[in-house]
Amino acid sequence: MITHDENLMTPWQQNWQVLHSNVGAMLGLSVLLILVICAVFAPVIAPHDPAMQYSDALLVPPIWMEGGTMRFFLGTDDIGRDLASRLIYGARFSMSIGLIIVIIAMITGVLLGAMAGMRRGFVEASIMRLMDIILALPSLLLAIVIVAILGASLINAAIAVAIVLLPHFVRITRASVVAESSRDYVLAAQLDGARGPRLFAITLLPNIAAPLIVQSTLAFSSAILDIAALGFLGLGAQPPTPEWGTLLSSSREFIERAPWTVTLPGVAILITVMASNLLGDGLRDALDPRLKR
């Protein structure tokens, strides 16, 4: 019989225990999972083709308002496209692009941070100064400028946002590497013959995983918000791509006549980011050693 005796659990099992008991975090996790399912199974779940323009159903209100129908239960936009379908497909864009951005930022950030933390000296100084420069610019401004140079598209927006989120990963990695480097187990591994990348991958990485994971959820939230902002400003995903921010920019003029075209995409963004933040909070509580008293 397996008992969940605290002393017999692995650290990761212990972490899960703490996380599990955090209501908010579990809520966040479930919402994110639902969104991932929506994103992956969009073609199956969405009631209509998001690009299909039903010329007989312009600006139909959602089902809970007068004039709404089950056919378009969240209403339609001004050229007759089903909002629910567009939102579901939008989840696909937002979730995948958010994930891609976080992965790019994390991998690049960890590599740079590791180099900075292990090499010290000039390499460290130049990497950290570069990060300072990126941080010196307000995030959206930097992203907008990068997109202005590269051209307005979802991919370029993703690159821009990844660059903006980079410094946080670099800093965390470097700080952790520096802190851990003087520890005994690292010295032992070095005596054993481990060097550079191998040293990092085997000894350091597992021990800095915790703050990185927490940072990833925060980065994910930022990524979603920044991509939506860029889409809203016309610098990210271009219409007719149903990215949530882009939806908001094209429906802005209908704020009075068809408020649902404005409120619903925003609600989608809000829910996603809140879920991610709740999960991040929960993860921080679970993984932060300082709080384990």
């Binding site: 323009q53 001004d78 050229i79 007759g80 016309g234 271009q238 219409p239 007719p240 003029e253 006549r257």
Partner: protein, 527 residues
């Protein structure tokens, strides 16, 4: 004695308004400059030539009829080559914080205003860029052979060839008259560009202050030769977002607004505090194909695209009843419009067949440039582009929608960077040449206003002939032939002619709708 004094004080006090009467206009964008000679956009003209300047002749506001303005009268020689203008005397230029005129308006100012644009060696030619687009597009440099000052109040224009629309051209914005005295003063002060940034004119309103993207402030010219305006102050509240313009109009923050959204118009009409004036516009909205880029050099492809688009759906979804289907490049209200033109019908199968014929059975990739701003001929270019994109997808053509900030959009497309582009045109003088020459002639293909970059020898010959012909019946025949060629060669898909709406608060009186799309605040008052 004291009683009389107090009484007159009280009388004076009671007739003084608490605030000087101010008219606020919610405009759609920032002007590129305050010198209309340097610009082609209506936004710039509204802010400059139409309030600050006068021209030798002008259109009576709200009509296409010419009336004397700075020129009292004029005579044309029998061969149509010499135009002699007698100038009005006693006209005063603006007196502002930055300039005090030393003399009245005279022939020197007329000569300066035109010579700056035509004489490359003129000291002012290079100032502010040295590009006078309208002057070039109207082929003025080849048209005007000589300008002579006969005396202080008589100016003579000698043309190289007879040109019927010439007088109407003199009423256009680029023909605005500036102060030579001010120009000389700015040149010697070393700041000639101020002429274009802080303008001085003879018009009804004087420039006070401009904050980029925020507002432009004007004051009534106390010595305006037609009489001081009833409104003391004029403000252009630059509001790029049309729903914000509407919200401001409703809240009474502005008195008149530009370019309402078609979907807001029914609500505006119901609102008792707002009046919506309307008039069919002298305009055309079109989708042009850059014939210099493959595959648009093949007329079959252009015809295929003409068949591929469901324009009725666009009229319904984008114009919402404010537009009429267009089959010719000129609107029906302009004489020589060919009623008998056979339009391309919406027929995706025919479109596919034509593409196959042209060897493009697998389709091709292209872009569709869409304007970021509302224009009289197109209330929502982005939406239109998305609908076109969808129609193209049905015949296997993959299109990307491209957009830029308005000024950038105009300049990049002028350079021919696009493959296809949504744009349009509002007539400036009621003459059919004003559509054909700037938009479809070989000369304008070079200078850039001809966004299809289409240069057809036969077509060009016809419109050139028509321009110099003075008999309207003969001209009409020539233009009809030209329209037939246009339809055959299909450098554009003609989309719609739209109705012009001008919403204003109901206490605004005297506001007329300019058929050429401009806003004039002369003669307007608030009750």
């Amino acid at each position: 004695m004291i009683k009389v004094f107090i009484f007159s004080l009280l009388l004076a006090a009671s007739s003084m308004p608490a605030y000087a009467s101010t008219l606020v206009y919610c405009s759609e964008g920032s002007p590129e400059t305050f010198n209309p000679q340097l610009a082609t956009s209506g936004t710039t003209f509204d802010a400059s030539s139409r309030q600050i300047y006068n021209r030798l002749v002008e259109f009576k506001i709200g009509t296409t009829d010419l009336e004397p303005s700075l020129a009292e009268n004029w005579s044309i020689s029998d061969d149509g080559l010499v135009y002699t203008f007698k100038l009005r005397q006693g006209i005063k230029f603006h007196k502002t914080k930055y300039f005090s005129p030393g003399r009245d308006f005279n022939a020197d100012d007329v000569l300066f205003s035109f010579n700056r644009q035509r004489d490359k060696s003129h000291p002012y030619f290079k100032v502010s860029g040295g590009v006078y687009k309208y002057y070039e597009d109207m082929a003025m440099s080849s048209l005007i052979k000589e300008i002579k000052k006969l005396d202080d109040y008589t100016v003579q224009f000698v043309l190289a060839r007879p040109e019927s629309p010439f007088l109407a051209n003199m009423a256009m914005d680029f023909a605005s008259i500036m102060s030579k005295e001010y120009a000389d003063r700015m040149m010697s002060a070393g700041t000639p560009e101020k002429l274009d940034l802080q303008p001085i004119g003879t018009g009804p309103f004087m420039f006070t202050r401009y904050q980029k993207d925020a507002f432009i402030r004007y004051q009534a010219h106390p010595q305006y030769w037609r009489g001081k305006e009833k409104v003391d102050k004029l403000v252009f509240a630059i509001t790029v977002d049309p729903s914000v313009r509407y919200a401001r109009l409703r809240a009474g923050e502005c008195h008149v607004m530009a370019f309402p959204l078609p979907a807001d118009i029914p609500a505006m009409k119901k609102n008792t505090a707002i009046n919506v004036d309307e008039q069919p516009g002298l305009n055309i909205g079109y989708w042009a194909f850059n014939v210099n880029k493959k595959p648009f050099d093949d007329v079959r492809v252009r015809r295929a695209l003409n068949h591929a688009i469901n324009r009725q759906a666009i009229l319904d979804g984008v114009f919402l009843g404010t537009g009429k289907l267009a089959k010719n490049p000129i609107p029906p209200s302009i004489w020589s419009y060919d009623e008998t033109t056979v339009d391309y019908k919406y027929n995706p199968d025919k479109a596919r067949a034509l593409l196959n014929e042209a060897g493009l059975g697998d389709g091709f990739d292209t872009d569709i440039w869409a304007m970021p701003v509302q224009r009289p001929y197109n209330p929502n270019a982005r939406k239109m582009a998305e609908m076109i994109q969808q129609d193209l997808k049905n015949i296997g053509v993959r299109a990307k929608v491209v957009s830029y900030e308005w000024g950038t959009y105009l300049s990049k497309s002028r350079a021919g960077e696009h493959q296809t582009i949504l744009l349009g045109w509002t007539g400036d003088n009621g003459d059919p040449d004003n559509f054909f020459s700037p938009l479809l002639s070989c000369a304008s293909a070079k200078s850039g206003n001809n966004r299809a970059l289409w240069c057809n020898g036969e077509f060009d010959q016809l419109i050139t002939l028509a321009r110099s012909e003075s008999d309207q019946t003969k001209r009409s025949k020539l233009y009809k032939k030209a329209q037939a060629i246009f339809k055959q060669e299909a450098p554009w898909l003609t989309i719609a002619h739209s109705v012009r709406y001008q919403p204003r608060r109901s206490n605004v009186k005297g506001m007329k709708i300019d058929p050429f799309g401009g806003v004039y605040f002369s003669g307007v008052s608030i009750e």
